[in-house]
């Protein structure tokens, strides 16, 4: 029954859309089937969605002539324009800062601009001419492009933890971050200085600088004031230190460790041998239960008794 109704509905749509006037007729005649369609919301939306696809040719000309009150106001389209510019500026800043990661240090101000304009768009305060752009720009269609674009970048900002390194109103980097960067620079200068020649030299001379950096980093980790820039910089420095310059601790105590552990492993053998040899074996005393004699003898007893 239902598919048949749906089919009917499609047919009406196809017939009536070109001349829009018969809209009432559609509603009247489809009212029977509409009840059933409402019960299945997903189906009914599917039907509506497919409407433009049926006759794109006809609807094309209709789009350009919406009545005024449906059009976006000039004020809003201006806002949209500015949003676009700042968006582009931020993305342009982000891409070159991808590797090595400097997204927080270099782009916090452009991000601030973007946030500002978005807040303007999304605020419900009236602009000039008593218009608010929130509804018209952000949520008048299914795609919600402006919102999506912004929220993508916002989640990027959140993932990168940049807020931890930037002051509250996105004015500048925090002191902690600046201090870390300074310490990092010292270490890197040290690395550069000794990079030529023997790496053992480097390991020895830069150890204090690297150590300070490490301590600072773990302290910041504890306070959770890390953003992606710092994490990445630290990761790279650590990799340089451990992998490129090979300054990790060497495994050089094999002999004492092996000696101690073989001593420990030897103890149980002694223990079990000695308890096997010296401890007296536990014996169990067998008890002999009282049982009836076998069949024949039992008979004998009973014979005797009776």
């Amino acid at each position: 029954m239902l598919p048949y109704n749906l089919y009917l509905f499609f047919v009406f749509v196809a017939i009536c859309v070109p001349s829009l006037k018969c809209g009432d007729v559609v509603h009247l005649s489809a009212s029977e089937s509409a009840d059933k369609l409402e019960a299945v919301p997903s189906l009914s939306t599917a039907a509506i969605v497919s409407k433009p696809a049926v006759d794109t040719v006809f609807s094309f000309s209709l789009l350009s002539s919406f009545p005024d009150d449906l059009e976006v106001s000039d004020y809003c389209s201006d806002l949209l324009h500015i949003f676009g510019q700042r968006y582009v500026a931020y993305v342009n800043c982000l891409v070159p800062a991808a590797r090595p990661v400097k997204v927080c240090q270099s782009c916090y101000s452009t991000y601030g601009n973007l946030v500002e304009i978005y807040n303007n768009i999304s605020s419900d305060q009236m602009g000039p001419g008593n218009v608010t752009c929130r509804d018209s720009l952000l949520r008048s269609d299914r795609l919600m492009l402006v919102y999506q674009l912004y929220s993508n970048l916002e989640s990027l900002w959140e993932d990168s933890n940049c807020a931890k390194c930037v002051t509250e109103h996105l004015e500048s980097l925090t002191n902690d971050t600046l201090y870390f960067m300074a310490t990092l620079n010292q270490t890197l200068t040290c690395f550069e200085k000794y990079q030529q020649g023997n790496h053992t030299e480097l390991c020895k001379n830069c150890k204090s600088a690297y150590g300070t950096l490490n301590v600072l980093y773990s302290q910041m980790e504890k306070n959770s004031t890390l953003c992606i820039d710092i994490e990445d910089a630290m990761n790279m420095t650590r990799r340089l230190w451990s992998k490129n310059f090979n300054c990790s601790f060497p495994r050089e105590e094999n002999v004492p460790v092996i000696a101690v552990s073989s001593f420990m492993l030897f103890l149980p053998i002694i223990f079990y041998l000695s308890s096997f040899l010296h401890s007296e074996q536990k014996k169990r005393k067998l008890i002999h239960p009282r049982r009836a004699k076998s069949n024949t003898s039992l008979m004998n007893i009973q014979d005797k008794l009776s």
Partner: protein, 773 residues
């Protein structure tokens, strides 16, 4: 001709073989040893080394069967309808209390272990970090070993010197108790204390053990204690729940306690109920099931609630059990039909490894019983195991080259860097340098690629032997978690290998999923539980879709494992010489009749018996009988006595203590009549006969047993087959079964030990021997 019947090979009583000629060849070609024991000129008792084919005299049956004597009938008549209602309500109250207390104990254990182990690992970690830089890591190794030993020393001393019954997981003991065997001291308060503190020590001491098995024992003790409304150890009587002071009620509550323990340990309330059902499957009823379920639910809820408070999130009920497998929810852990054969293959591996584990542990346990029986030796052994565990772990970590980058969310509780590059941690350390529960969870849930195949292989190998060596030590500790850990390690290894064999790494080869399957297989291979284990695993993972694979895996593991060796708990029950009645009588035993099974002749009492005779019989140490048929002499003294009732040792002792003698009753008419309450007050620790003083005059008095004996004991004719007798015992929970002839004359008595001694061995039906242990 004379020697066609030989002793079967298990018997060490070779010197009897001269008598074997009298034997009658049996129907199925096997022979039972000749009942030649009434030979009057027998030498002194033989001594043999301990082995698994013995039955110990120290274990007795529970008196599950109700004693319907006149006192009982009178009390029932006096009790109002309301009284029965109150009893029913108080049963529910007790079950609720059991759940709450068990949950609290689980909570206490969890928090203590977390704190102590946390401190220990923190100290060692700092030490290792310090010495990695300046050298001297062997000192860290010694520190680790010493810390481990210190914890284990405390636990070991408590167990070995204070309460040896608290050793091990306690599951074998509880299994026996539910089966109807009274294990001495198993449900005492002292045992509970030693158990709880001992398990904290042994887990914090870094042994390859878990805290889940002991929870079941703890729950059982709680149940036995709460339901009695008093503590004999503390000498406190709260005058509550007096009606429940008998074995029947107590055993029912103990099964609720065991279920509550399982449910607190694994967050598996249904699994707990099924555990009790599986282990105590005879004598069971539906109301009891429902009550047990109530206790289980309350227990897991209590644990959950208090842990949520401890973790600072009151009301967040997401810690249902001590072990939390975490959630398997992402898409990659779904399974496909073509994986089922793989799972079953893993089940078979689990069965094989489990059988190997059990065999090694079997030999080790025999060695321990024979040679390491002195408490000081037992403590030393535990210390050595603790030290070696630390050493092996350290060496593995030290020589491991498997470095993994630190994750952003720090799954690793105590990441050790050692010789890894900065920002990386030693992957072997996540497996060894952690409490076993956390290791299991990280094996289940860490990202693919966080373990090397080599690391996992080495870990499986070492942990297998460590766990095998550890189980059976004189520390209280369970085997569930080590089994899960071994299985999870090799299961994850399987997952990784599968992914590497197939060219395009398929989405289904998720190592975490295979770790879970491996864990189930290994655990099933070792403990061989079926239904309850499946449900426990399903509940612990919180994912019902894994029901089918886990069931298949456990089935395969059990089938494969049973082919080689019994389950670990059954082995330990056997080695403790417990008269355990299995679900069925041995298969080829229908030709055995009650006449051959029973003990005979039987010590009987007359209905009106002389006190002296009773005292003499009771104090005879060589025959430690517990039930005595009461017979009545027909006036014509030629006729042999006929059965008219059954009386228990405990009843006789109470009667003697209260001096219920015919002569005294005449002289002191005002004397209070003995009530059922007097018997209950003496329960469960009836004084030994030696402590009761009977004067010479009193020995001449007479005692009338009519009122106190069970007037309608179960009897069977002498030609009843063994399986029929067995069924009576198993289904009714009998303790004594009188064998009578066609004129109702007592000719023998069947007890649990008479039945439990038959078992199906390699050479057909074999018989176990009774021994003093």
């Amino acid at each position: 001709m004379a020697n066609i019947t030989k002793k079967v090979s298990w018997s060490s009583r070779g010197d009897d073989s001269g008598l074997a000629g009298e034997g009658t060849p049996l129907l199925n070609g096997t022979e039972i040893p000749k009942p030649s024991r009434q030979d009057p000129i027998r030498g002194r008792p033989k001594e043999i080394p301990h082995n698994e084919k013995l039955l110990s005299l120290k274990y007795e049956s529970l008196d599950y069967d109700n004693i319907e004597n006149q006192l009982f009938l009178e009390e029932e008549r006096r009790m109002s309808h309301m009284g029965f209602r109150c009893l029913e309500i108080s049963r529910w109250v007790i079950c609720g209390l059991i759940g709450i207390l068990t949950g609290l104990i689980a909570c206490f254990i969890d928090i203590m272990v977390e704190k102590l182990a946390g401190c220990k690992y923190q100290v060692i970690k700092e030490n290792i970090e310090k010495f990695t830089e300046v050298g001297g890591l062997s000192i860290s190794l010694i520190l680790w070993a010493v810390l481990n030993c210190a914890f284990v020393l405390v636990g070991g001393i408590m167990v070995a010197y204070i309460e040896p019954i608290a050793a091990g997981s306690g599951i074998p003991q509880i299994k026996c108790y539910l089966n109807g065997v009274k294990i001495p001291r198993v449900v005492r308060l002292k045992t509970l204390l030693v158990k709880v503190l001992g398990v904290i020590c042994s887990v914090a001491g870094g042994l390859a053990v878990g805290k889940e098995g002991p929870m079941i024992h703890s729950g059982a003790v709680v149940a036995a204690g709460v339901s009695q409304g008093r503590s004999t150890s503390l000498k406190r009587d709260f005058k509550m729940f007096e009606y429940f002071r008998r074995d029947t009620e107590k055993r029912d509550f103990v099964s609720a306690g065991a279920a509550a323990g399982v449910s607190a340990a694994f967050g598996a309330p249904v699994g707990g109920v099924l555990f009790s059902l599986e282990e105590g499957a005879s004598f069971w009823n539906q109301m009891l099931t429902w009550r047990i379920f109530f206790a289980s639910m309350i227990s897991t809820f209590t644990l959950n609630f208090f842990l949520s408070i401890y973790h600072g999130k009151p009301g967040d009920l997401s810690n249902p059990g001590l072990i939390n497998f975490g959630r398997f929810e992402s898409d990659s852990v779904a399974y496909y039909y073509y994986e089922l054969p793989l799972f079953m293959g893993m089940g078979a591996i689990g069965g094989l490894l489990g059988a190997l584990f059990n065999s090694i542990n079997y030999w080790l346990t025999i060695f321990r019983i024979r040679y390491v029986h002195r408490p000081c030796l037992q403590v030393m052994e535990a210390l050595l195991v603790a030290a070696v565990t630390a050493t092996v772990s350290f060496t593995m970590i030290y020589f491991s080259n498997d470095c993994q980058p630190l994750g952003p969310e720090h799954n690793e509780e105590y990441p050790l860097q050692l010789f890894c590059a900065d920002g990386e941690y030693n992957s072997m350390a996540t497996a060894f340098f952690n409490t076993p529960e956390r290791s299991v969870r990280s094996l289940f849930h860490n990202q693919p690629g966080s373990y090397n195949p080599l690391t996992l292989g080495l870990f499986t190998l070492t942990y297998f032997f460590l766990a095998c060596w550890t189980y059976g030590l004189a520390v209280s500790a369970g085997v569930f978690i080590p089994s899960l850990l071994i299985g999870a390690a090799w299961g994850r290894l399987c997952g990784i290998l599968l992914a590497s064999f197939t060219p395009t790494s398929p989405i289904w080869a998720d190592p975490g999923k295979y770790a879970l399957i491996g864990a189930a297989a290994q655990l099933g291979g070792i403990v061989r539980m079926t239904l309850s284990l499946t449900v426990i695993m399903v509940e612990a993972t919180g994912n019902v879709t894994y029901g089918l694979p886990i069931m298949l895996v456990l089935m395969t593991a059990k089938i494969v494992g049973d082919y080689f060796q019994e389950g670990l708990y059954d082995i330990h029950i056997k080695l403790q010489s417990v008269p355990f009645l299995h679900w069925e009588a041995p298969a080829t035993s229908h030709w055995l009749t009650a006449r051959e099974v029973m003990s005979s002749p039987v010590t009987c009492f007359n209905r009106i018996e002389k006190v002296g005779t009773i005292v003499d019989v009771l104090s005879n140490t060589s025959t430690n009988h517990n039930g005595f048929p009461v017979v009545v002499q027909v006036l014509d003294s030629d006729e042999p006595a006929k059965l008219c009732g059954l009386i228990l040792r405990s009843q006789l002792i109470v009667l003697l203590k209260h001096k219920v003698f015919v002569e005294l009753a005449r002289s002191r008419l005002s004397q209070r009549k003995l009530q059922l309450k007097d018997f209950r007050d003496a329960y469960p620790r009836f004084p030994p006969i030696q402590s009761i003083h009977v004067s010479q005059d009193e020995r001449e008095c007479m005692m009338d047993l009519t009122e106190f004996m069970n007037a309608t004991p179960y009897t069977v004719p002498q030609d009843t087959s063994l399986p029929r007798v067995f069924k009576l015992f198993r289904a009714l929970g009998l303790r004594h079964l009188v064998v009578v002839d066609d004129e109702n004359r007592v000719i023998g008595l069947v007890t649990r030990k008479d039945l439990a001694r038959y078992h199906l061995g390699k050479h057909g039906l074999e018989e176990l021997q009774l021994a003093q242990t």
